[in-house]
């Protein structure tokens, strides 16, 4: 796979002395959707800012499209789009003019048809002559997306594109992202909604306190760290674990009234094992009254990884 963006040893220490990025190495492949997950203040926006020229890195190198961003930024920047986390735009400007301006600013010739297409795809065409301040928050966010798309970038940064956006719109946003993926745009997004990353992303990176803790294929990460958890409520309490089921990863809990299974790998192996476990229980004459199974999500992985991080720190 062609790398489209390569960060190596990227660090950022803010003037106050806060280390917002700590020796980050990351390679983004052409055409992928990469989700950057992390709690508030983890360094997500700083990372994006460093690539986009908003933040000056303290050390490390950034290469985009093969260009070193420290010296050869012009070429690369014209192919990068940024949708910032904050709703920052000239509120007095009408929508279409704001979007056309962005295109011109990035050095492209005016193309009213392309602007219309972008505005229509974001359901903003009806609002094209409204001043931005007259739009709702979700619409304003879409204006920022339209501005970022106006110069037809090949690499797009979406810093929390769905923050403060209702369910309906969020789905719309996913559709837009999907459509861009279809056109071959590489997308790096940050989000606090883990299900969003789970649904959209090809790869996931987890960042905390400026350190990139883990980067992996979403599926591989789920397989490696995913778990199935099952709680089987027993009809009669057990004093000890019967030998018939001892080879399963199970243990008694709640004073022997319940059996807890923790196993599998996020690929469905766990579900099959729980099924086998219930059969073994019946064969051994152990009766049960309820089964509650749950697949761990990226969120659990995230929380447990962060927990380990805290422990180490």
């Amino acid at each position: 796979m062609d790398p489209i963006l390569e960060l190596s040893g990227l660090s950022k220490v803010y003037p106050g002395g806060l280390k917002a990025l700590d020796d980050v190495d990351l390679t983004i492949r052409k055409g992928e959707i990469f989700a950057l997950l992390g709690p508030n203040g983890a360094g997500k926006t700083t990372l994006i800012g460093a690539v986009c020229g908003i933040v000056r890195p303290t050390s490390g190198t950034i290469r985009a499209f093969g260009h070193d961003m420290a010296s050869d930024w012009r070429q690369a920047r014209s192919r990068i789009g940024l949708v910032p986390q904050e709703l920052a735009t000239d509120m007095f400007e009408p929508v279409r003019r704001a979007v056309s301006y962005s295109r011109g600013l990035f050095g492209l010739a005016p193309d009213p048809a392309r602007i219309e297409e972008i505005l229509r795809s974001l359901s903003l065409w009806d609002k094209r002559d409204e001043r931005i301040m007259a739009l709702s928050g979700g619409m304003k966010r879409r204006v920022l997306i339209a501005k970022a798309l106006a110069h037809e970038p090949d690499l797009l940064f979406l810093d929390e594109p769905t923050a403060g956006v209702d369910v309906e719109l969020r789905k719309g946003m996913w559709a837009i992202i999907d459509e861009m993926r279809g056109r071959g745009v590489t997308i790096i997004l940050t989000t606090h909604y883990i299900e969003e990353a789970e649904m959209m992303a090809d790869r996931v990176g987890i960042i905390n306190r400026g350190k990139l803790l883990m980067v992996d294929e979403k599926d591989a990460m789920m397989a490696r760290l995913g778990r199935t958890e099952a709680h089987i409520t027993l009809a009669k309490p057990l004093a000890s674990l019967p030998p018939e089921i001892a080879h399963f990863p199970v243990e008694l809990e709640a004073g022997g009234t319940s059996l807890c299974y923790r196993g599998g790998d996020g690929t469905g192996k766990g579900k099959a094992e729980v099924a086998a476990l219930t059969k073994a229980l019946i064969v051994s004459g152990i009766d049960y009254t309820g089964i509650d199974t749950r697949e761990s999500s990226l969120e659990d992985i995230f929380v447990s990884l962060l927990g380990e991080g805290e422990g180490a720190a």
Binding site: I54, R56, R77, L82, P84, E86, A88, D90, F92, L105
Partner: protein, 254 residues
């Protein structure tokens, strides 16, 4: 390679911002110019001594022009760059493939254009009050453009330096306005008693006002060459500071 499209986009957008408040932008200078003429020209002018054969009403035109030019150009330009920093919209400029050349030509070019529009309005308004003619119109135009360029850059620096509204207003209020009023806008520094006529020469604005007055009437307090030299020196200093700001990203990039 400088991108002319990017430059043009910044320039037209800045002018558009100006036109949004066009009514106020035109009315304010017309009104203030008229007021100055009524107060200084008509009321006081009659009692003024001879000013080298120039009528007092005509004498104050270059001063008045300089007064408005310095104030408006500085504030237009400083707000032009301060507001995007304040509201966060500067992210787009910082992430765009534009460098110091596009940014300056765009922002400063627009501020200069506004200043030229203002100067025209003031000269036309002044004409309603006094009869005057400009001895060296071409030099006057060049001089006005130079001053507008220098103070657009100066305002740009202020707008980057300021990290709150108070700082944005303090330099024009504490330095620019007083120095302009003391800089011979409404009088010739030769009229000052000793030693003030010499002390006044330490005020850089004296040279600006005097320079413009020379292009109007062919005579002034200080030598025209000196006026040009000081204006160009100030322009060069501003350019150097801005080049430094862009090279280091000071106050622009976190």
């Amino acid at each position: 390679m400088i991108s002319w499209r990017s430059t043009w986009s910044i320039y037209t957008r800045e002018l558009m911002r100006f036109l949004r408040t066009a009514f106020q932008s035109v009315l304010a200078p017309v009104l203030t110019t008229s007021l100055y003429f009524i107060v200084f020209g008509a009321a006081i002018g009659g009692r003024m001594p001879d000013l080298g054969g120039v009528d007092y009403g005509a004498f104050i035109i270059p001063g008045l022009l300089m007064l408005t030019l310095l104030g408006e150009t500085t504030s237009n330009s400083s707000f032009g760059i301060y507001m995007p920093r304040f509201t966060g919209t500067i992210y787009e400029l910082l992430s765009a493939p534009v460098g110091v050349a596009e940014t300056l030509l765009g922002f400063v070019g627009a501020a200069m254009t506004k200043s030229l529009i203002l100067a025209t309005i003031i000269l036309v308004t002044a004409r309603l009050f006094v009869d005057y003619s400009i001895a060296h119109p071409l030099l006057a135009l060049v001089y006005i453009m130079l001053v507008a360029a220098a103070f657009s850059l100066f305002g740009f620096i202020l707008g980057i330096w300021a990290d709150n509204f108070e700082k944005l207003g303090i330099i024009p209020m504490l330095f620019l306005t007083p120095l302009t009023f003391l800089g011979g806008t409404f009088y010739s520094i030769k009229m000052l008693p000793k030693p003030w006529d010499t002390i006044a020469l330490a005020n850089p604005i004296v040279y600006l006002v005097s320079g413009l007055r020379w292009t109007f009437y062919g005579k002034a307090d200080v030598d025209i060459g000196l006026s040009f030299a000081i204006t160009l020196g100030f322009l060069a200093a501003c350019i150097a500071v801005i080049a430094y700001i862009f090279r280091t990203g000071w106050r622009l990039r976190a």
